[in-house]
Symmetry: C2
């Protein structure tokens, strides 16, 4: 595995691979580093499918709001290189902020509609930052496939919309959420949690399991009732401060009528329960996806 820090070097390495393997596939895993088993699962999936696996590690200032955690976002290059290598990456692309933004960027890629709700509502500008940096990375690496975790399900929907709308010739591969054995969804931000917050944060996955049982066994329950059951469950954790709990169609992210029975909702599209909850200063997200056949993620 090699570590490259300039755009020119990554382009050269990908060009060289394509020259030597005219039918070979290039896979990209775009990350903000501080890698965990969730990222490793993306890298392994890319490794299964592609001849060249590039992982980018870049904490993108553009996607953090002024009061968010850009400065304190956890970073550990050495550990990232080890984990990327173990998971099977060929190239780790670790550019500096100056390499990615040599002058003030004037160009923004934005996706409307899909970004107005869920995390988009409480993080204005976040998805513009995501779309802009992902489009840069897709232009730099020019991968056949790019792998994104469904933990950030709204991000997956937005990036799929962007690549379709702009005809970006990269297939977006959504990959399942990876959880700790106790159910907490893996996130680089979990390190912020105190022991007590960490313990109470288990309520998030538990609330989605409650919804899962309800959806499997009470198809006549309304969408609003399912959502309320999730909220009630989360509220049993005294440190949990709910940002949102929503039930939306996937991947359109359209809000579903509260009165509609969940069984009926599942007949017209996949359904996602998505939530964002603060524990102290740490904002965690989680979600679960169902189709008419049952649970998906």
């Amino acid at each position: 595995m090699i570590v490259l820090r300039t755009i020119a070097d990554v382009r050269q390495a990908v060009r060289q691979f394509r020259k030597e393997h005219s039918e070979g596939m290039v896979g990209l895993v775009a990350t903000m580093g501080y890698l965990h088993a969730g990222h490793a699962s993306l890298i392994r999936k890319a490794r299964e499918q592609c001849g060249l696996v590039v992982i980018s590690v870049f904490v993108n200032p553009l996607q953090f709001g002024p009061n968010e955690d850009y400065e304190r976002y956890p970073r550990d290059e050495k550990r990232d290189m080890e984990l990327a290598s173990e998971a099977g990456a060929d190239i780790v692309f670790m550019p500096s902020v100056e390499e990615m933004y040599p002058s003030r960027p004037l160009t923004t890629v934005s996706v409307s509609v899909l970004t107005s709700g869920l995390c988009g509502a409480s993080r204005p500008g976040h998805f513009d930052g995501v779309c802009t940096v992902v489009s840069k990375l897709l232009h730099i690496v020019q991968p056949d496939r790019a792998y994104f975790g469904m933990k950030d399900a709204q991000q997956v929907a937005v990036i799929m919309q962007m690549t379709a709308d702009l005809n970006i010739p990269t297939e977006i591969i959504p990959c399942p959420i990876i959880r700790e054995t106790d159910g907490l969804a893996l996130s680089s931000r979990n390190v912020y949690l105190s022991d007590e917050e960490r313990r109470q944060a288990l309520v998030l996955n538990r609330s989605l399991q409650v919804a899962d049982e309800m959806i499997r066994n009470q198809q006549e329950a309304s969408v609003g009732e399912v959502r309320e059951r999730i909220r009630e469950t989360i509220r049993t954790a005294p440190l949990a401060d709910i940002d949102y709990v929503e039930i939306v169609a996937f991947p359109s992210l359209q809000v579903i009528d509260d009165e509609l029975p969940i069984g009926a909702a599942l007949k017209s599209s996949k359904v996602m329960a998505a939530l964002a909850v603060r524990f102290g200063t740490t904002r965690l997200i989680d979600n679960r996806l169902w189709d008419a056949e049952g649970g998906l993620v």
Copy 2:
């Protein structure tokens, strides 16, 4: 020369070319059709430099305002094919609106700062539409080089900014304005002009020639004086209705202080005189560029 109407077919043709010519260059000339000698000069330039020359013909609804001329914009596929073939194109890509926008597009590519003045000021949303469709075409064709005419100098500056900011791996090649023998800059919109409007429209190039003489011979004249001389010249045509006359740095498009002597302005950057003037319902644009050595375009 072949005519292709689907994205899949163009991609396939470009892929085939690259397979057979691993070192071959692909050139793109993006047009809205109704081709004239200006477009032909772009195609010929691409022909000189590239092994595969793709010309796209697509009147992009996204870049027209609600009160602009999208519906009546002149179209002539047969003539376009003939001119493209004569100029040396290999592929004419003529997609339908449905092929380019199969569903309502939610993604926008926008460039700030460079788009606030000149045509951006009187055509809100125009450059978002241009950037979005050009990024689509660059993703569809994936050319090594794309050729744009300096007649739309602001568009050239905006597209260069976009490709640099987003790391789009295509080199943008600006090409000189082509004029009728009487000096009128070629434009598909010239067909809208009545005989009298056409005659009076010659004042545009004449006003830029007046500026050129002034810039060559009176380096101490202020930027404001040069701009006023252009305006005065245009005002001698009774049918001319000035939208703007501006003197800006190129390619930053920054407004230059009116008091600054033109000679001093030329020491720090290229200088462009740009204008938009209505004759009846037809809005024409023209421009001229100088550096410290003299006239450029």
